[in-house]
C-alpha cells in the first residue's frame, strides 16, 4: 500500500444497471474500510460521475444499455486521467468472448456472476495493493 492510500480513502465506482446486483457489489465493497463507493446505473451515468471525481478503481458490468462496459473501458483507456486506473469487469461465465475483448481493451481483471462477496473483496484488495485484514 502506498503512502498516499494510507492517508486518504480510495474512491471506487461501481457501474451496474441491475439494482440488486449493484447493491450486492456495493455491500461487498463496504467491507473494505479503505474504500468509499459511488454507484452508477449505466455507462452514461458512469461518465457523468467520472467527470466530477477521481476514482481509484472502477468495477463495471459488460452488458448495459446505451453505453456498455466494453465501450466504457475503451473510453476510459483513451482518457489520460484514467489510463492507469484499475478496471474490473463483471461478466457471466459463458461470456468468454466479451471477457477477452474487455481485457484486450485494457481491463485489469474480471469477476463472474453469480458473484461471491469474499472473491470480490479479495480481488479488489489485491488490485489496489491493500493488505488483507
Amino acid at each position: 500500500m502506498t503512502q498516499d492510500t494510507q492517508t486518504r480513502r480510495l474512491n471506487a465506482l461501481v457501474v451496474e444497471d441491475s439494482p440488486p446486483m449493484r447493491k450486492m457489489i456495493v455491500f461487498a465493497l463496504s467491507r473494505i474500510r479503505e474504500l468509499s463507493v459511488v454507484e452508477a446505473d449505466d455507462g452514461v451515468d458512469a461518465l457523468r460521475r467520472l467527470s466530477g471525481t477521481k476514482f481509484d478503481i472502477i468495477i463495471t458490468d459488460i452488458n448495459m444499455p446505451i453505453l456498455d462496459g466494453l465501450k466504457l473501458v475503451k473510453r476510459l483507456r483513451a482518457d489520460e486521467t484514467y489510463q492507469d486506473v484499475p478496471i474490473i469487469i463483471i461478466t457471466t461465465e459463458g461470456a468468454a468472448e466479451d471477457r477477452q475483448r474487455a481485457l484486450a481493451l485494457g481491463a485489469n481483471a474480471y469477476i463472474t456472476k453469480p458473484i461471491q462477496a469474499p472473491a470480490v473483496i479479495k480481488l479488489v484488495r489485491e488490485t489496489l495493493g491493500l493488505e488483507e485484514r
Binding site: P20, K23, A28, P114
Partner: protein
C-alpha cells in the same frame, strides 16, 4: 451410569422414597401443609416450616446418596460383565481444575498472539469470521431481494427482479415463468431465460399436475416441499399471494459454474415464492386501478378518522 436409569430403578423398587415423610402412598406431595395448618391457628408457624423444610431436604440428600450407591453398583456390575471395556478417566476436582487452567492459558496465548499459541485457535477464528461474513452477505442478499420485489410497480419489474435474483444470486441459468390463467385453468409462459419462448406451450392444471397440488397447498414454498424434479426440470416453484397461486417458476438448469443449490439458496427460493407472487398481484391490481389524486379527506376516511 445414566441418571435416568438410576431414577427409574428407585421409582420401581423404592417408591416410598419419592413420597414426603409420613404421606400415605398414592397421595400427592404437600410440603406446604404445615404452613397452611399454621394459618388455621395450629402451632407455631416458624418451627413447623423449619421442620418441614429440614425433612424435605433430608429426604433429598438420602435420595441422592441412594442414586450414587446405585450408580456405583451398576458400574461394578458392568465392569464384571465386560472386563475388557476401556476404563474411563476418573474426573476428580483436581483434574478438572488442571484442564481448565490449561485451556485458559491456551486462550490467553492465542489472544496475545504469542508464538507458542496453538495454531488451531487463529484458524478457528478466521473460519468463524469467514462464516459470519458469509451469513452477513446472505442476509444482505435477502434484504436486497425483498426490497426489489416491494419496489416493483409493474409485472415487467417483477420479472426483471426475479430474473436477476435467479441468475445473479442463486445461479440458475435457465428457467421459465408461467402465470396462472384462472378462468381457463392453465399456466401460460410469459418469460424465459436460457431458451426460446416459442418452444413453450401452456400447461394444463389438471388434478395430477404440480400446479394443482400447489393450489391445494395454498402457501409459499419452503424447504422440504416437493420439487417435482424430472430430467429437464430442477424444480417447480410456486409464486403465491396469501393462499392464491399466481404463477409458477420452472427452474431448468444451473449456470455452468454452479453445481447445485447451497443452503442459503433455499431461503432465497422461499423469499421469491412468497414475495414475487404478491408483487405480481399488486402490479396486476395497479394496472387495473383508476388513478386517483391523494386527498386528505379520503385518506382520513380510510384510516377511520
Amino acid at each position: 451410569m445414566p441418571a435416568i436409569a438410576a431414577l427409574e430403578f428407585v421409582m420401581r423398587n423404592h417408591p416410598q422414597d419419592l413420597s414426603p415423610a409420613g404421606a400415605p402412598q398414592g397421595k400427592s406431595r404437600d410440603i406446604f401443609a404445615p404452613m397452611r395448618a399454621q394459618d388455621a391457628g395450629q402451632g407455631d408457624l416458624h418451627d413447623k416450616t423449619r421442620a418441614a423444610l429440614h425433612e424435605f431436604f433430608g429426604r433429598g440428600e438420602a435420595f441422592v446418596r441412594q442414586l450414587i450407591a446405585e450408580n456405583e453398583r451398576l458400574r461394578s456390575e458392568l465392569n464384571e460383565a465386560q472386563p475388557d471395556r476401556p476404563a474411563r478417566p476418573e474426573l476428580t476436582p483436581g483434574s478438572v481444575m488442571e484442564g481448565l487452567i490449561g485451556r485458559i492459558v491456551e486462550l490467553e496465548k492465542a489472544r496475545a498472539g504469542e508464538p507458542g499459541a496453538p495454531a488451531g485457535a487463529e484458524t478457528r477464528l478466521r473460519e468463524r469470521l469467514v462464516q459470519l461474513e458469509d451469513e452477513n452477505y446472505h442476509l444482505a442478499s435477502m434484504y436486497v431481494a425483498g426490497l426489489q420485489f416491494h419496489a416493483s410497480r409493474t409485472i415487467g419489474d417483477v420479472l426483471q427482479t426475479t430474473t436477476e435474483i435467479l441468475l445473479n444470486f442463486i445461479g440458475v441459468g435457465a428457467f421459465t415463468l408461467y402465470l396462472v390463467d384462472e378462468e381457463r385453468r392453465v399456466l401460460f409462459p410469459i418469460a424465459r431465460e436460457g431458451g426460446e419462448m416459442n418452444e413453450l406451450v401452456e400447461l394444463e392444471m389438471d388434478e395430477a399436475s404440480p400446479a394443482a397440488q400447489m393450489v391445494q397447498r395454498g402457501r409459499p414454498w419452503s424447504r422440504g416441499d416437493p420439487a417435482y424434479a424430472s430430467d429437464d426440470v430442477i424444480m417447480y416453484l410456486p409464486l403465491v399471494s396469501g393462499r392464491r397461486l399466481v404463477a409458477v417458476l420452472r427452474l431448468e438448469a444451473f449456470l455452468a459454474q454452479k453445481p447445485g443449490f447451497e443452503d442459503n439458496d433455499y431461503s432465497l427460493l422461499s423469499m421469491i415464492s412468497e414475495h414475487a407472487g404478491i408483487a405480481i398481484e399488486s402490479a396486476w391490481i395497479r394496472a387495473h386501478a383508476k388513478a386517483v389524486a391523494l386527498q386528505r379527506q379520503a385518506v382520513e376516511h380510510l384510516l377511520g378518522a
